[in-house]
């Protein structure tokens, strides 16, 4: 029997950071054989999000690069490890962008992580969420199979829309190796307005404007001030600015405000790193009145997204939000606080829990991808 010389590439190579599809597949098959879970990781900038991290790291960062970008097709295809910053730079050269404005937590954030986390920024109000822009993916499933779904075209209903399900799956269904995203032109004009008002009034105003053909691309309310961003054609922005009134925010300051909000750099979000209160992400119907919960609040997405820094008990937060028809995520908090809350995410209805578990089983029969990251029981 021949033994492999000690310095063959296969033993030398760090197989926690594959740079080929086959490398990922081999690593996953090895994990399946060993029954040893993996945690898929891009830049690691969203490690705080979801349940505890378990398993050996499997990094996508060596599998990087834009595969195709055709501005007139409004599509970019990239490998999972490509830095979000690089994608944004490539798009900016052609006056295009990712319209869902994913948060940029760190320069290391990867496009794979953006899709896997499924977090969208302020423009979600007008443009839609990550999943709305996913056109196709190449994934490696829990059996190490390399599979391609969707494509690079705007419309495609051949087979189930597996690609969109990968958005927000937090690496628990499979490894997103490549992704095609719809991109959009940068708006010609943008302006920011500011209004002094109480939270209830801010929510009411945002909903009223949402029902009118206005180019409102983001809203944010905090501490007695409602911020409104207008984006679109020059003429539309000018007309809306005149009809809405309010105080016009200087362009530079306006841009800085939305950027800080998008990237969650406000102390509201970062205080937890010191010893601030847990930050909750509350997703509710946009018309929901101010929630009867103690703590500091930000309201985004025309009222549909509420951030809450609060010492209220998890039971209390979840009950109030559920009654409003939404769901509550322990967003930034210690693992302890998440455990006390019964997990980062709101428990599913029994019928949905069954379907979620069934789907997880079909994608990842041996349960090797990020156990506990989404729900404690799978």
């Amino acid at each position: 029997m021949m033994t492999a010389p000690p310095d063959t590439p296969s033993t030398q190579r760090d197989d926690s950071r594959p740079d080929t599809l086959e490398g990922f597949a081999a690593r996953i098959r090895r994990a399946v054989e060993a029954g040893a879970p993996l945690r898929i990781e891009g830049g690691g900038s969203k490690n705080f999000y979801g349940g505890p991290l378990r398993g050996e790291p499997l990094s996508t960062t060596a599998y990087a690069g834009v595969i195709a970008y055709a501005p007139t097709e409004l599509v970019i295809t990239a490998r999972a490890g490509t830095a979000l910053a690089q994608i944004e730079a490539v798009l900016a050269e052609k006056q295009q962008r990712l319209a869902f404005e994913p948060p940029r937590f760190s320069p290391d954030s990867t496009i794979g992580g953006v899709v896997a986390a499924g977090l969208s920024g302020p423009r979600r109000l007008q443009a839609g969420a990550v999943r709305d822009f996913v056109l196709g993916t190449r994934i490696v499933d829990g059996q190490g199979r390399i599979l391609t779904f969707g494509g690079q075209v705007m419309k495609n209903v051949a087979g189930y829309d597996v690609s969109r399900v990968m958005a927000g799956s937090l690496g628990t269904l499979g490894l997103i190796a490549e992704v095609s995203l719809k991109v959009l032109p940068v708006p010609v004009a943008e302006a920011t307005l500011r209004f002094a008002c109480a939270q209830a009034e801010g929510i009411a105003l945002a909903n009223r404007w949402g029902g009118q053909p206005l180019p409102v691309s983001a809203t944010a309310w905090h501490d007695g001030t409602l911020w409104v961003r207008l984006s679109g054609a020059e003429a539309a922005v000018t007309a809306a600015r005149a009809s809405l009134g309010g105080e016009v925010v200087d362009d530079e300051a306006g841009r800085a405000f939305w950027q800080t909000l998008r990237d969650q750099k406000h102390t509201f979000f970062t205080a937890i790193a010191g010893n601030g209160l847990p930050v909750w992400r509350l997703s509710v119907p946009s018309t929901t009145q101010p929630l009867d919960l103690p703590g500091d609040t930000w309201v985004e997405w025309g009222g549909a997204l509420r951030w809450l820094a609060s010492d209220a008990s998890a039971d209390q937060v979840r009950a109030v939000v559920l009654a409003a028809g939404g769901h509550a995520t322990v967003y930034r908090a210690s693992d302890d606080a998440k455990t006390r809350a019964g997990g980062a995410f709101q428990p599913l209805s029994p019928a949905l829990a069954v379907l979620n578990r069934n789907l997880k089983r079909e994608f990842d029969p041996r349960g090797i991808f990020g156990p506990g990251r989404l729900y404690p029981d799978f």
Partner: protein, 511 residues
């Protein structure tokens, strides 16, 4: 299409994965099914006589016909759940049905199964101006939602050409689009929540009135699942504010290549028009006598480009669009002067299918998508195929989305023409895949494009679709045999293609 002279080739092979009980040879078992269903439904809601079943034997793709064992017409969600639970227990295949306008045989009945018609569930349950949402039952017609929302200054954006007839339940099942999808999105972008019933009779809420939900995005999976994962019983749609003004530019070109380039140039200029549609000469010639829209009959291609928004915004955008079209060599241009003229310009595009139906005894509508930049190449390929098969073909496109609807004209009463039409269509779809696109943009795979699924997806991927199906419907009873081909089916198709002298389906790379 007429259904005389249909050939076996066109009928889907009976390789249903899952449901395989043969009730036809077991009158007693059949009687039990009927009695159980009647016990949970109001009188007159279960039909079993052949003459009552006939109207349900096909959908909009009438070359595929199959009389079902029975039809049930539930009046509410509880009845849907009861029917499904019974069918699950007795292993009766179920095919949900809306208005039956589908073009891929998605609602084609199962010979041993039940057609579950949602036609009686057609109430608009809630219309809310403040949250810009409507809650409707599955049998509500697409256009009825916009009509009901109109007084609130709102409308439901996805507008399939069949919108006066098709139901929102069918739209959800097919992820239907319309001429305004480029800017406003498909069904998947405009539906917030769906209540549905799985095959076991379990009621599930997918999505919510909030913008996202915890767990996997099963709503995204359900939309476009062709009635194979759950029966839709209630839909919450997002309504869009009506724009103050919409205007359309109609431009004609003496070369389809130039028209194709103009489409790309508009997008490259950073414009996302509210609609961007194209018709070739055969389509214009078919349509003009039908609608008198004033289309340029000399043109090789016509582009319709719509702009909407505030009057200032529309003026600005139309100016930019005209400049681009000029640069791309448009031979003539007209801008709609009022709402009446705008609708007239669109009328021809919207009536393209029936208009072609008037000049040909039968037509076969394709639905491939391709990258926009391959448009001209595709048209050249289609022209060559038209010669090869000796059949005329008119082309209408959702050009902005790269979604083509070649309409292949044939006469089913002429021996061999139907097979030629089908072979012609199959080649177009396979070309779409080769060009980096898809075999279907909005009409679904259904019973029709099963073979082409073997070309677009490899074995592992097709297995994976079955795995997704299993997660929702363990026994494979909901719309069995549609959308996903079995291994056996693909092997057979591969042999057929080899024998006609071509390559067996290679697993084409699509990235």
């Amino acid at each position: 299409m007429t259904h005389e002279n249909t050939v076996p080739l066109l009928h889907p092979a009976p390789d249903y994965a899952g449901a395989d009980r043969d009730f036809s040879r077991d009158a007693a078992a059949r009687a039990i099914v009927f009695a159980r269903l009647r016990a949970v439904l109001p009188a007159g809601s279960v039909m079993v006589e052949t003459e009552d079943l006939r109207p349900y034997e096909c959908d909009g793709l009438s070359a595929y016909c199959q009389v079902p064992m029975a039809v049930a017409l539930p009046a509410d969600e509880a009845q849907v759940a009861a029917v499904l639970a019974i069918c699950h227990e007795l292993e009766v295949p179920v095919v949900a049905r809306g208005a039956g306008t589908g073009l891929s045989g998605g609602a084609l009945p199962h010979a041993q199964g039940l057609v579950l018609s949602l036609a009686r569930m057609q109430r608009i349950l809630r219309m809310d101006a403040e949250s810009r949402t409507a809650v409707v039952q599955p049998g509500v017609r697409n256009l009825a939602i916009s009509e009901a929302a109109s007084s609130l200054g709102l409308y439901y954006a996805p507008d399939p050409s069949s919108q006066i007839a098709c139901t929102i339940g069918g739209n959800v099942a097919e992820n239907s689009g319309g001429v305004h999808c480029l800017k406003y999105g498909l069904t998947v972008h405009n539906v917030l929540k769906v209540r549905g019933v799985t095959m076991t009779g379990e009621i599930v809420e997918f999505g919510s009135a909030a913008l996202d939900t915890p767990g996997y995005d099963l709503l995204a999976l359900l939309i476009g699942s062709e009635g194979m994962l759950a029966v839709v019983t209630e839909v919450t749609v997002r309504l869009t504010p009506k724009p103050q003004l919409a205007q359309v530019v109609m431009a004609s070109f003496d070369d389809v290549n130039k028209a194709g380039d103009a489409v790309a140039a508009i997008i490259a200029a950073g414009i996302i028009p509210a609609g961007l549609e194209m018709m070739d000469k055969p389509a214009t010639l078919a349509v003009e006598p039908f609608v008198n829209a004033g289309y340029d009959l000399e043109a090789e291609a016509i582009l319709l480009c719509e702009s909407d928004g505030t009057p200032e915004e529309v003026a600005e955008e139309i100016g930019r669009v005209k400049a681009v079209l000029n640069r791309c060599g448009a031979r003539a241009m007209a801008v709609s002067r009022d709402e009446g003229e705008r609708l007239t310009f669109w009328a021809g595009r919207k009536a393209a299918f029936p208009a072609v139906g008037r000049i040909s005894p039968d037509y076969y509508c394709m639905d491939g998508t391709i990258p926009r930049k391959r448009l001209a190449e595709m048209l050249t390929a289609i022209a060559a195929l038209s010669k090869k098969y000796g059949l005329r073909c008119a082309n209408v496109f959702h050009a902005g989305d790269g979604n083509l609807h070649p309409l292949i004209m044939f006469d089913a009463n002429e021996p061999g023409e139907l097979e030629r039409a089908e072979a012609f269509g199959a080649e177009i779809l396979e070309k779409s895949v080769e060009f980096g696109g898809s075999i279907t943009g909005e009409h679904g795979v259904g019973a029709e494009k099963i073979n082409q699924m073997c070309v677009q997806f490899n074995r592992d991927e097709r297995d994976f679709f079955f795995a997704v199906k299993r997660a929702f419907d363990q026994r494979g009873l909901l719309n069995p045999g549609k959308a996903i081909p079995t291994l056996h089916r693909c092997a057979e198709y591969g042999r057929m293609r080899v024998s006609s002298g071509r390559m067996p389906f290679p697993d084409l790379p699509r990235f």
